[in-house]
């Protein structure tokens, strides 16, 4: 079937836009539903605090919504922008951009729902701490949104970079790999970051005096959790900005696509696992403030071991890009 390139460009634009919105809607909805569930639970425990709880639920849900709003923006851009281009690379760019934002919104959407839910429950237990709980919820959710912002940045760079000077093969695979690396890589870190923020809100409600160490270790734990999303962004940037010499073999293209998949999928597990670790550490610091230094140490060591497979993925991705 021989069609002109503009036909394929439109096909890719619609497919990319559909995937961006379809995938992007999943995470935020689940996270917001979780928040609503916890809010209801909280109101049933303490109906007099229902005003604060309700407000907090809406604010938390708004942050979770932002990930899917990014996806909506990318979908609208893909559907309605004219892409006058005679290169097959544009086809790959549009698909990759859509898939990147679609996957990238999943983790952050679900993750931002967790601290909002915990803040609602916390306000039922300790209405006096409402202000501090809101602060921790906002800080934690904001950090949790960063992977979806990485995905948005990658999507936009893909859409607005001029790839016309590059050889079609293997750059087509580099473009697809770049989208997958950032998009898939954002899932684990978004979820993990949310788990840590949830524990900090719960800990502040349980033990208001521990707010200092709990917040500090939340930020430290979240920072480590976000590292795999940063690796994904790094691989994306390398794939987008390095010029690859023209090559007709399928092998050199598959190496680049494989690099993107490797980093993208490989970033999921460590992101979630380190989130579990930090969540547990923060919970127990709230229960036992005196053990803060031991808990921090074991959290960091444990997260480093969990990071190991993420590092292996990064290494293999770099080998696929630079050595093969």
């Amino acid at each position: 079937m021989e069609f002109d390139i503009q036909t394929w460009v439109k096909v890719a634009a619609f497919t990319g836009g559909a995937l961006a919105m379809g995938l992007g809607a999943i995470g935020a909805a689940i996270g917001e539903g979780y928040t609503a569930a916890q809010a209801n639970s909280a109101i049933s425990r303490n109906p007099e605090a229902s005003g604060d709880i309700f407000k907090s639920m809406l604010v938390g849900q708004a942050i979770a919504e932002s990930a899917s709003v990014f996806a909506l923006v990318v979908a609208m851009v893909l559907l309605f922008t004219e892409f006058p281009s005679q290169s097959y690379l544009t086809v790959c760019v549009l698909l990759s951009s859509g898939v990147c934002m679609g996957f990238g919104a999943i983790g952050s959407g679900v993750g931002s729902g967790f601290p909002a839910g915990a803040a609602c429950i916390g306000m039922a237990r300790q209405p006096a701490m409402s202000g501090r709980l809101t602060t921790n919820m906002l800080i934690g959710s904001a950090v949790c949104q960063t992977p979806s912002i990485f995905a948005l940045v990658t999507s936009f760079i893909l859409l607005f970079t001029n790839f016309s000077g590059r050889p079609v093969s293997p750059t087509w695979a580099a473009i697809l790999g770049a989208g997958l690396a950032s998009g898939l890589g954002a899932i684990g870190s978004g979820l993990g970051g949310g788990l840590v923020a949830e524990a900090s809100c719960e800990g502040v409600a349980r033990q208001p005096e521990s707010v200092g160490p709990v917040t500090n270790i939340m930020l430290l734990g979240q920072a480590v959790t976000q590292t795999t999303a940063i690796y994904g962004l790094l691989i994306s940037f390398i794939l987008m900005f390095k010029s690859f010499p023209a090559s007709d073999t399928l092998a050199s293209s598959m190496a680049l696509l494989g690099a993107g998949l490797c980093m993208g999928i490989g970033a999921i597990g460590p992101g979630v696992g380190e989130g579990f670790t930090a969540r547990s550490a923060v919970s127990w610091i709230a229960r036992n403030e005196a053990a803060t230094s031991e808990l921090t140490r074991v959290m960091l060591v444990g997260q480093a071991v969990a990071e190991s497979t993420g590092i292996y993925s990064l290494v293999i991705a770099l080998v696929l890009i630079f050595v093969i």
Binding site: M21, A29, N40, E65, F80
Partner: protein, 82 residues
């Protein structure tokens, strides 16, 4: 089988509309279900607050629905506008 260029564009738009709404329906389903489940539990623990709890559940579910509406909008755009 000779397929026209315009035909395959329409084909992609329709497939995309399906994917967009199909995938987009997952999240609100799960999220609203969780909200309703907890609402049942909450009312079970505290039946006198049933009105307030039901209202909260509906508002929370409406926010969760919004992403599903975005997907519906993109689907309809792909079906009828582009």
């Amino acid at each position: 089988m000779a397929i026209e260029g315009a035909d395959i564009i329409k084909a992609a738009a329709f497939l995309g509309a399906g994917l967009s709404m199909g995938l987009g329906a997952i999240g609100p389903g799960v999220g609203e279900g969780m909200a309703a489940a907890k609402a049942c539990e909450a009312i079970g623990r505290n039946p006198s607050e049933a009105g307030l709890l039901t209202r909260t559940m509906l508002v929370g579910q409406a926010v969760s629905e919004s992403t599903g509406i975005y997907s519906l909008v993109i689907s309809l755009l792909l079906l009828f506008v582009v």
